[in-house]
């Protein structure tokens, strides 16, 4: 068994979701050799490669594709790159994180390799058997892969926690991918224009230890600031329901649910969230769930460890007053 990880980097470092994919690869087989593939251009790529080489003890080599073609992670160029690297390395498995990077690239690369990918894997029971949620997590499906190599997976980072001491890492060798035979057929047909991101000091929603979520009951973007204040106090990330996003209280990248972000923090606090199944799909694996809602019959109380029936406009200010400052 040999695994190729399609990794994402930002600001000269490997994203933590990509390191979770390494954890997933480890659970395929103890003996697996793990290669990490990075693409990009310029110094930030080389910096990320150095980080990759020493970020996890199970990584046996880092492959770097350095070219202007990879400055932005476009599916057209990445899927060709995967095809090229697979041809040379003949990996048994290719794994990436199930985020907007992996979801965009993996199926396209799989189609080029003529195999069926398996998306959103939450558990690996054998090197060819995987568990993934279906119907918004209301059922779990165990699937067996019986196709030819490579077996391609996208994995939920919330299900593969990283627990390594990176200081004990040996440096994995870094090698450059030979791009002389890179197939240019789709290159240039899609062009990056721009990216608008929310400037925020808060932790990333996907990886935060604590998530504070607000629903429609917040009533306005102005009121939603209370959620943000509380999040700040707890060092938490802010989430929102689809209703709150659709009402324009917060931008859509804060949506937690079946079609938004999947989170599994230590503490999830939901304020004015009714608990539609599509929302529960995004947070049901949280360790401790707190729900505050005026409606005692709200379905969120069925998954909450601690429920408080009450008016969030009274509860949040009281919490803000009584909670200790985050150390």
């Amino acid at each position: 068994i040999s695994t190729l990880i399609l990794a994402e980097h930002d600001g000269g470092a490997i994203k933590s979701q990509s390191i979770s994919a390494v954890e997933a690869a480890k659970s395929l087989d103890k003996q697996t050799s793990i290669s990490l593939l990075l693409a990009g251009s310029g110094p930030s790529l080389q910096q990320a490669a150095a980080h990759a080489a020493s970020c996890h003890p199970s990584i046996s080599q880092v492959l770097v594709a350095d070219s202007d073609k990879f400055t932005y992670p476009l599916a057209e160029t990445w899927s060709r790159l995967v095809q090229l690297v697979q041809k040379k390395g003949e990996y048994s498995h290719i794994i990436t994180a199930s985020n907007s990077f992996g979801k965009n690239i993996l199926p396209r690369a799989a189609a080029l390799l003529d195999v069926s990918p398996i998306t959103d894997v939450i558990a690996i029971s054998a090197s060819n058997q995987f568990i993934r949620p279906i119907y918004a997590g209301n059922a779990l499906c165990t699937v067996r892969y019986s196709g030819s190599n490579p077996c391609m997976l996208s994995v939920r980072s919330t299900s593969f926690a990283v627990s390594v001491d990176s200081s004990k890492c040996n440096e994995a060798p870094i090698s450059q991918v030979d791009l002389s035979t890179f197939d240019e057929d789709s290159v240039g047909k899609s062009r990056y224009v721009n990216h608008t991101a929310q400037d925020t000091e808060r932790p990333d929603l996907g990886n935060a230890q604590v998530v504070i979520t607000g629903g429609r009951a917040l009533k306005s973007a102005e009121n939603f600031k209370m959620i943000e204040k509380l999040a700040e106090k707890l060092g938490a990330a802010v989430g929102a329901t689809r209703a709150a996003v659709d009402a324009g209280f917060v931008p859509n990248d804060l949506q937690v649910g079946q079609t938004g972000k999947i989170v599994a923090p230590e503490l999830y606090m939901a304020f004015g969230v009714s608990g539609a199944i599509q929302h529960l799909a995004g947070m049901r694996d949280s360790k401790v769930i707190v729900a505050v809602n005026k409606d005692a019959d709200a379905p969120i109380f069925q998954v909450a460890d601690y429920g408080l029936v009450g008016d969030l406009f009274e509860v949040i200010p009281e919490l803000l007053e009584k909670l200790p400052e985050k150390k």
Binding site: N138, A139, C141, Y145, L234, I289, D305, L319, K322
Partner: protein, 251 residues
């Protein structure tokens, strides 16, 4: 320009699904079925493009058992011009669907394919990317805004990505998959439902399209997710803070 839209018949989003006791799947007998919500958004976008004069025809495609015709009729009642039904009783996985769509593209020669980003039954989120790959067309997935320039033959697509929005410019022909906030799909009106009855739905079999229906994935079992154990109701903020600190140890 012709736009092809792929639509899937799924268990209605409001139905509380039940896992079959033999663990072979989810109960779909006597359950309300509807068009996948993301596919409705895809069709709506195609119809709006046609209304703005940038497309000449919208062709809706569905694949699966006979009943898919009902879903296609809904699409025709929303405003699609024609339907294509690829009939198959065997389970169709995304790779097969993508190959069938590619075969239909060779027949229909659309300038744009729009699909939902995922179906709410298997939650795969694969078909659009796969058909784009097979066709070597550029892809704009998870679109929240689409702008077409038929003179320059490009589509500008705003995409929902982790931590913000990304804008891409794609040469046509291209594949676009839709996210939730792209538009609000219309309801079919009664006159349009009547009109839809006389619109044409062409049937194909996978054999006619030279696509072998096979799968490299087997479903071993489908089970209920573990239930969370019932929580407790508490009565005050002080009690909540106490529980979080001294019982759950999370603050």
């Amino acid at each position: 320009m012709k736009i092809m839209v792929a639509i899937k018949r799924v268990v209605d989003y409001a139905v509380k699904i039940r896992v079959k006791s033999d663990k072979s799947g989810v109960e779909t007998q006597n359950v309300k079925m509807s068009m996948n919500p993301f596919c409705e958004i895809a069709l709506e976008e195609a119809l709006r493009i046609k209304q703005s004069g940038l497309a000449s025809e919208v062709v809706a495609v569905s694949m699966g058992p006979t009943q898919c015709v009902d879903t296609l009729r809904t699409g025709l009642a929303m405003g699609a011009d024609r339907g294509i039904h690829v009939e198959s009783t065997a389970a169709l996985f995304p790779l097969t669907v993508a190959k069938l769509l590619k075969a239909l593209v060779e027949v229909e020669k659309p300038g744009l394919i729009i699909l939902g980003k995922q179906a709410i039954d298997d939650d795969c989120n694969q078909t659009g990317q796969m058909v784009a790959g097979l066709l070597r067309w550029p892809q704009g997935t998870f679109a929240s805004k689409v702008m077409l320039d038929t003179e320059k033959q490009v589509a500008t697509v705003e995409r929902e990505v982790d931590g913000g929005l990304e804008t891409l410019c794609l040469d046509l022909p291209a594949v676009i998959t839709t996210d939730l906030r792209l538009n609000q799909p219309r309801y079919a009106t009664l006159p349009n439902i009547m009109k839809a009855k006389s619109k044409v739905i062409k049937k194909y079999t996978p054999q006619e399209l030279n696509v072998e229906v096979k799968s490299d994935i087997e479903v071993v079992e489908v089970t209920e997710p573990p239930k969370r154990k019932a929580g407790v109701l508490i009565s005050s903020v002080d009690e909540l803070i106490d529980k979080l600190r001294n019982e759950a140890h999370v603050i």
